[in-house]
Symmetry: D2
Subunit: 429 residues, 4 copies
């Protein structure tokens, strides 16, 4: 296999840089999906698009229509085929690639997420993507969480399956999922039944928990349950100089909510998190602000702990509205569940990766504290009697995930492909 991998490596780097250069936000990965599709077709996979991929109405936190229109227009400008675009229209992005060897065997599924983040990538010279001219071409959007790498690993695995299919048995499903950020897309795919008859499910992430390059974790522990809430306060505008007493200040309701949200007590049973990631309020300088919008995320080590933080947050928002005599609405726009990886996969993966070239070390379990949309898929596979895991692929990082100078060691791509290829080849027990 080492020859195959060595030959594949330059292609991986090329794919990754191309994806990195053209990041798209969740449910608007039109160009990204099209690029993936062309490669997967070429490799001989059967591809599934649009409503085949996910249940339309189960998607959470869709972008505003105008933004989607703008992205779709840009997709056309960037050469996305008209038929493909019409299939994806209105946020039906993502692609699922399947390969049936015709031989009886296990059904293995893999999840790769494909969306980017609303971050303006740095243009500092020492930033590797800037240096090598593949930094984001799209203003205010950036692959700052490594999903450009994840997709690339997916294509790498697809290349392996395509090349080695004669030696393989059973079925393979590669899920290229949109809108992982915010926990918005996985449930809609899951609800379409894609995970119902899966025997083994693999998902993962690069660059978490300081694992060095060459080291991977077979399973993880500690993913947090989470809720994503959008909050709108509505007040009454008034001239701030002439009639301040007639205003009902939605901005002040929001800032009061923020202060109290961050003060939600820690919980003795486990980790909690709270974040207000975005706030937009008011319209003009001399107008008492009559609107305010917040994007909030709660997390808890267990579903119960997350529910505790979430219910505290709900009461705080209500109280903040009363505080300024304004009205409010809370919209639930995303959520993730806890993850309990199937323990037996740890040793299976360790065994499969024995005698690897790029994979130097496999640790059975790593502790993390993020939240993952893959939780819905993992829990569905396990509920149907399958086994599922979330893996980590080590790489040094100069900046944390979601940082405007985030970058990773590109060698992690071939490491991950080797690991997954070995898993496919050597089975799971």
């Amino acid at each position: 296999m080492i020859d195959f991998l060595n030959k594949l490596n330059p292609q991986l780097i090329a794919w990754r840089r191309d994806f990195h250069n053209y990041p798209e936000l969740g449910f608007m990965e039109y160009v990204t999906t099209y690029k993936l599709g062309k490669e997967l077709n070429r490799l001989g996979f059967m591809v599934h698009l649009g409503e085949d991929v996910m249940k339309k109405e189960v998607r959470l936190g869709l972008p505003p229509k105008e933004q989607m229109d703008m992205y779709e227009e840009r997709a056309t400008d960037n050469g996305v085929d008209e038929y493909w675009l019409s299939t994806m229209q209105g946020g039906m992005t993502g692609i699922i690639a399947t390969w049936d060897t015709g031989k009886s065997g296990d059904h293995m599924a893999f999840r790769f997420d494909i969306d980017a983040l609303p971050i303006e990538e740095t243009n500092e010279k020492k930033h590797f993507p800037a240096q090598h001219n593949f930094a984001s071409a799209n203003k205010q959007v950036m692959h700052a969480c490594g999903h450009d790498g994840h997709m690339t690993i997916g294509l790498g695995l697809a290349s392996f399956i395509s090349s080695y299919h004669a030696q393989l048995s059973g079925k393979f499903t590669l899920i290229f999922q949109p809108a992982e950020e915010g926990g918005r897309g996985a449930k809609a795919i899951t609800e379409n039944g894609w995970l119902d008859d899966v025997d083994y499910f693999y998902s993962g992430h690069i660059g978490i928990e300081s694992l060095p390059i060459g080291t991977i974790a077979a399973t993880v522990d500690g993913f947090l349950a989470s809720s994503k809430l959008n909050i709108n306060f509505k007040g009454t505008a008034s001239h701030a100089g002439m009639k301040p007493e007639l205003g009902k200040n939605a901005l002040l309701a929001a800032t009061t909510a923020v202060a109290n949200l961050y003060a939600i007590p820690r919980h003795s049973n486990g980790i909690t998190r709270i974040n207000v990631g975005k706030m937009v309020a008011g319209s003009g300088r001399n107008i008492i602000p009559d609107s305010a919008y917040l994007e909030v995320e709660t997390r808890g080590e267990t579903e119960d702990i997350n529910q505790y933080v979430r219910s505290e947050a709900m009461r705080i928002v209500e109280a903040a509205a009363i505080m300024q005599n304004v009205t409010y609405e809370i919209e639930a726009v995303g959520q993730t569940e806890e993850i309990n990886c199937s323990k037996s996969l740890a040793s299976a993966i360790i065994n499969a990766c024995n005698n690897s070239s790029y994979v130097k070390k496999v640790i059975p379990v790593a502790k993390v504290a993020g939240s993952e949309d893959a939780s819905f898929m993992i829990n569905r596979v396990q509920a149907s009697g399958g086994k599922a895991t979330y893996m980590l692929f080590g790489t040094a990082l100069d900046h944390p995930h979601h940082h405007q100078a985030f970058d990773f060691q590109e060698e992690v791509l071939i490491v991950a492909v080797e690991a997954l290829a070995n898993i496919v080849l050597k089975g799971n027990d």
Copy 2:
């Protein structure tokens, strides 16, 4: 004159509704300026545009280039002549119309403001403009401060001068000023010298201080000095679930600033005001917010009191940055001065309006608490030995200025035109 006025009245209403229907934000009144220019040309005025109107570099608080581009494009779509547009390009809006009778006499100048506000006009049925189909055609922009009426009054006065010019002597300057909101445009016009040789200057507003229709105030007392500040906090983004401790939260710096800005103590020497009219912070839900932007306005009954509020605000912003270990920038984007109307104009205006038809009552002085960009013009005229005033034109209001359902009695238009026509006709002493 009553026949002239009665005949003019329907035209006033038509102008007003047309302006109301197409509101434009400050320094982007391209269509508005063009419409004004066509009428003023037709009436025989000499019109002045672009750099003739104001000193480019003195303008404060320009809109972002992309927004200006968008407005200019839309202006073309709306039929604005190409030559006119090129003259106005880059925010050089507004128009000044002059008429020289050729006879020796006073130089009288009048200021009418023409910009709208970033407010989404209500579409409730009982809102008069909605009922009569002239509500704003432009999303998120609205004439919610009566400047549509002010321009109309200006055209009405122009019509009077044009019709009665044979009976008049001296010179007349009608200033149609852009970007009054936020105190951004008057200084740039003043710096071009337009007020330097003016003997009498009149500005004013409709619908302030609960004067009934038919009642006007000849002068005002109490306009507030003000400062307009834009504030930017810059922090550090980080993954809110995995590395919360690595973030430096600019949103929290901003909310802390807001709470303390509103707590700036009142002043025993006179009125103060503080408002945070706008806040935009953060990029994504699960990212520690690394940016926050505030639009702040301070006001004081005197320049000293305003300086007190302003300097408190500056310290608060600095402390808020230290609080969250972020950096900050404060940009001064607008300001207005106190106004002290020339007292002798009160009786002159009362006399001029004797035996009026629409003007039922003139009160010598009214108390207000807003801030006015005209302060720069008034202070320049007075500094050059002229006399200046700010008048009020009464109308009932169901909603305060800057409210999304703001509207006024259209009869105020003819009342104001009659008052100004009488002033033009009967002089000032």
Copy 3:
């Protein structure tokens, strides 16, 4: 009269310093009342004490029983007669002195307030009372609002009436009122009927509005209506390290209330004030605080404006309780009304003070922005057909009222006595 005044002057200074040296908080002026009583008895006045002075149950904002006990104990130690003390027990302090000339004439009443403030007096050398050894002997209590001077002026006026009674006609009532600070005592005296048949009522203050020594104001304009609220939040304690999520944090409810109270919008109809003068919350460092107490004061230029601020405050407190899931109680512990001085007294006082020695100038009306318990007395006298005023007696101040280094020019004492003596002597018309 000048000889009388010159002879009286050293006595005034002695009285003032003695009062200053032993300040007592409202409703606990046991020693102060006793000292006043002995002087008034000596001068031949009939004195009224205890329940004769005020209606017990109408008093607002009584101190805690333990504190009253402690003050009463100390009063005994300081030589207060046992009978007097028993009459005053439980916060029935203050004294009213009456003199009936037996001749028909007007009934004139004067109010002097006698309570001190909970401020620790500075011991800086340059502080005049410290320099001359009459700074407060009582920890955490200080005459920082000049009531030591007011009482002294009252005794000065009593001396004059006593000396000149043969030349006078009508009746005189001198009210030495307890608990002026916080608007707590005047109503209880008023409710006992003392103001019901008063023809002319005089109250006043030293050192307000920058009048120089020798200048007095005959009337004032602008006193604010006010409300005094005590607020208690009750939460649930819990171990802050082991079970933070079980606590309900009353301290956070209070700090959230504070931030929003100070953000209550100004009012376009007139002056507002808000202050949280005191906060006590929590019990121990590692316990989630289960209690919080706030002392709040709202003010408004009119009763309506004060009601606006007060009702905003009430809603904010309720919302703060909901915010932290705690309960709350609001107790109204004091209030003052607007004051509209009887205009005709301005010229009467100016006339009476003609040809004075110490009074150099009388201005008819001054503008102030405090709140005054005397408002209840003034409004009662006016409601009964009498005339009433609130006067100012000028003195330079190095520090504002309620400052720990507050002090005044002692010459103001004789100025004020001369003014009141002239009023008594020359009548009111």
Copy 4:
């Protein structure tokens, strides 16, 4: 041993109720120490008091002198011997009891804490101590953390050693420590050398982590490092109605600090805690508050994490002072360290407790999240080559520690005594 225990049991309950009835705050356990001393003397221990117990100047967070005076006075009233009191005067409470068997063997030391909390005990009928008439006789003080039980266990162990001394070898030191709450007393005892030659050290707590009655934990994991900070803000007082702009508001500085302290980000490396347990600010309702005092506690799973929280807190306090233009002081008044129990003691204790009567189950290690002053002793013993642990003794709780209705099952007393007796009897290996 079972007969000994059964006979001892009623005495344990009597001791506990007596201690519970008379709770005293840290460094003022005069009556408590005296009671302990009399019993320990009676049992034949050598007792050590005052400066023998701890280094005077190492104590942290001493109560104010007036409060100590008051407690000492009350101690006299409650029959504390004059000589004892003079030895303890000024906060030198606590007692150490030693027993030397004369036979060679290990030196075993035990720590029992004796202070109570500033909580007002509930008088609800269903509260067991209220029902049985042993609720706190001291206002605002309560044994709400079970230290009444801890002392009782100490006396029970002393009884055992006294009765069984013939069968024992080596030396025993029983440390009855004052001021555990707030991490204030242990270091001062440690600095006196009491732990320097200890071979085995045992400390512990009742009622933590939901262990049922009869279950004990031999060691714990997870105690948090902590810092205790007292913060004072100093501003400038001013009359809130007349000169609000001259005040510098220390209360607002404090509330701003509180809001931001609670918003200190969680840390990805482990548990954090922050609490503001107490706030006292301002002096009078109509005075801008010129002082504010906060009691703050930071905690972290490791010393590094605690340092992170502590340094965030320091910067926040500084920024809050700048925010309101006031000055500040931060005083470090207590701290605790991490605890890493000696692992080998787990099996030793399990073995020792085999065949117990009251001890039903011993779990080797339990996870907790508090902070413990005993950390200094444990770390000193381990640094000197000894072994040390912190044990838990299970009991059902209806309310959490530090709750005003905290209570425990009294059976835990005999369980704990049996466990410690077995350890003493059967050694540690």
